[in-house]
Amino acid sequence: MALLELEGVGRSFGGVRAVNDITTGVEEGGLFGLIGPNGAGKTTLFNLITGLIRPDSGTVSFRGKPLTRRSPEKIAALGISRTYQTIRLFEGMTVRQNVMVGGHLGGRYSLLDAIIGRRGFRDAERDLSDHVDSLLETVDLSARSSDPAGTLSYGEQRRLELARALAARPALLMLDEPAAGMNGREAQDLSTLLRKLVTETGLTILIIEHNMSMIMKLCDRVIVMNSGEKLAEGDPAAVRNDRKVIEAYLGGGHADA
């Protein structure tokens, strides 16, 4: 059974069909690319999966559970984490505090436990603290941990968002253009890190990215969208040679005329 399944998912805004009849899925423990020209509906699809907007047709399910009527916080609690195309860090907080918030779901203690300082509270906070330290190490931000998040460079902010999303220990990590604004070297390091996460922790990653060489090298399977529709799907080599995909990227349409 696929980890995440989409069945005829669609959503319109006004008269525009932003996402139309998308049927696809991702299996556990792989890296999946979601690509397409600007305005193809990729981010809208992310928002539909994470519950920020609701589909007006079709169903999304995660491990067989329907997500369609669940709130974003419930969907997150099922094990889906994400980052944003337009970075959404908590800018008034330090780097470390951002990641601590990301680990909100991990702390299984009540407010009362925290107030009376019960052991469960202290253990959970210590575990979270250690986890956050290791995540900051992973994304190479340990040295910046007490700096305000807003003072980081663009690439560092993207890495911080990644660490914050990982803090919830998700089963599915959804990255919206994680390499945007990164130089070649940074993007290469990111690719290495993502592949390592998949092989070492069994994490499943769904990634929107415009950096084609990165997607083609990194992903096990690629889903191509254009104008809200699924255009093609398959392994990177097959997708790269797909005539419809080439037309979409070269501004096809006229090509047949």
Binding site: T50, L52, S71, P72, E73, I75, A76, A77, S81, R82, Y84, R88, L89, F90, E91, G92, M93, T94, R96, Q97, V99, M100, V101, G102, G103, H104, L105, G107, Y109, L111, A114, I115, G117, F121, E125, L128, S129, V132, S145, S146, D147, P148, R164, A168
Partner: protein, 298 residues
């Protein structure tokens, strides 16, 4: 000797008033932690004051029952109206909560059972100054613990980016409603203690300018930690007394002090202290999760 007693008596009253104001400032602050500007505290303070006063006068109940009744009623009302009200943001939420407080005041003004414009007389004077101090101390402790838990961090996160907080698994609507209820209970208990400190309450005590004053306490002190509202309330309660010799100029000094701090020290009084005391300056707001908190070094 007479002068000394006079001094102690007035000092006692000032200390009580500073602590009471600090509690009210904290009731506004817990909502500000979550980025929500609520001015409902005066309404809840009135609910608390009238509830416990009537439970004791007409119900013959002990003070403890009066306090419990006040807290329970305010908490339940906040839970009932919290969810719809807190869908509103920014200035709309502020206006709605002002409306709520005014509604409570008009109810007290026009309902004979509550004494109308004449207010309630003959309230048992059961509040001791130490009650209010103990209450404030408990609140400071609770805020201290809240700040160091995932719940405190979640409130801050909601205030900074509610959507991002949701996708981190934080039930934002529920947490905002619970913070609203906590704020209501805090204000209602303050109202009860205040009612039973004096002999008499009237609707005029819970007006809009009082609500704004409490907000100023919090902002003046600084919103980075719960010490801000506490220090702000204490400073602004004592300031008019310190400058008593200025007579008619006092309100102007008061206004100028508030303006100076707000304009030049956005971190409030707490931010100002941090600038003056070396080694306490932090790079960002002191929320739980700073490395130094865990290891006790800066």
């Amino acid at each position: 000797m007479g002068d000394l007693l006079q001094f102690l008596a007035s000092y006692n009253y000032l200390a009580y008033l500073a602590a009471l104001n600090a509690i009210l400032a904290l009731s506004v602050y817990i909502m500000l932690m979550a980025g929500q500007l609520s001015l409902a505290s005066m309404g809840f303070m009135a609910i608390g004051a009238y509830t416990s006063a009537l439970l004791m006068i007409n119900g013959g109940m002990p003070f403890a029952v009066g306090l419990l009744g006040a807290a329970a009623l305010a908490g339940l009302i906040a839970l009932a109206i919290g969810k719809p009200i807190l869908r509103l943001k920014g200035v709309y939420l502020a206006i709605t909560t002002v409306g709520f407080s005014e509604l409570i005041r008009f109810l007290a003004l026009n309902w004979d059972y509550l004494g109308g414009a004449m207010g309630l007389n003959g309230i048992p004077q059961t509040t001791r100054t130490w009650h209010v101090f103990l209450y404030l101390a408990i609140l400071i402790f609770l805020f201290h613990r809240l700040d160091r838990s995932r719940y405190g961090r979640a409130l801050r996160a909601i205030g900074l980016d509610e959507t991002a907080a949701k996708t981190m698994g934080i039930p934002t609507a529920r947490y905002k409603t619970l913070a609203f209820a906590a704020s209501a209970v805090m204000a209602a208990l303050a109202g009860s203690f205040a009612a039973h400190y004096s002999f008499y309450i009237s609707p005029g005590e819970y007006n809009f300018s009082q609500a704004v004053l409490v907000l100023i306490f919090a902002v003046f002190g600084g919103l980075g930690t719960h010490w801000g509202p506490v220090l702000g309330a204490i400073a602004l309660t004592l300031l008019p007394e310190v400058f008593r010799f200025l007579q008619d100029w006092r309100p102007i000094i008061y206004g100028v002090s508030v303006l100076l701090v707000v304009i030049f020290f956005p971190g409030g009084l707490v931010g100002l202290f941090k600038l003056m005391i070396p080694g306490t300056r932090r790079k960002a707001s002191p929320i739980a999760g700073g490395k130094d908190e865990r290891h006790g070094t800066a």
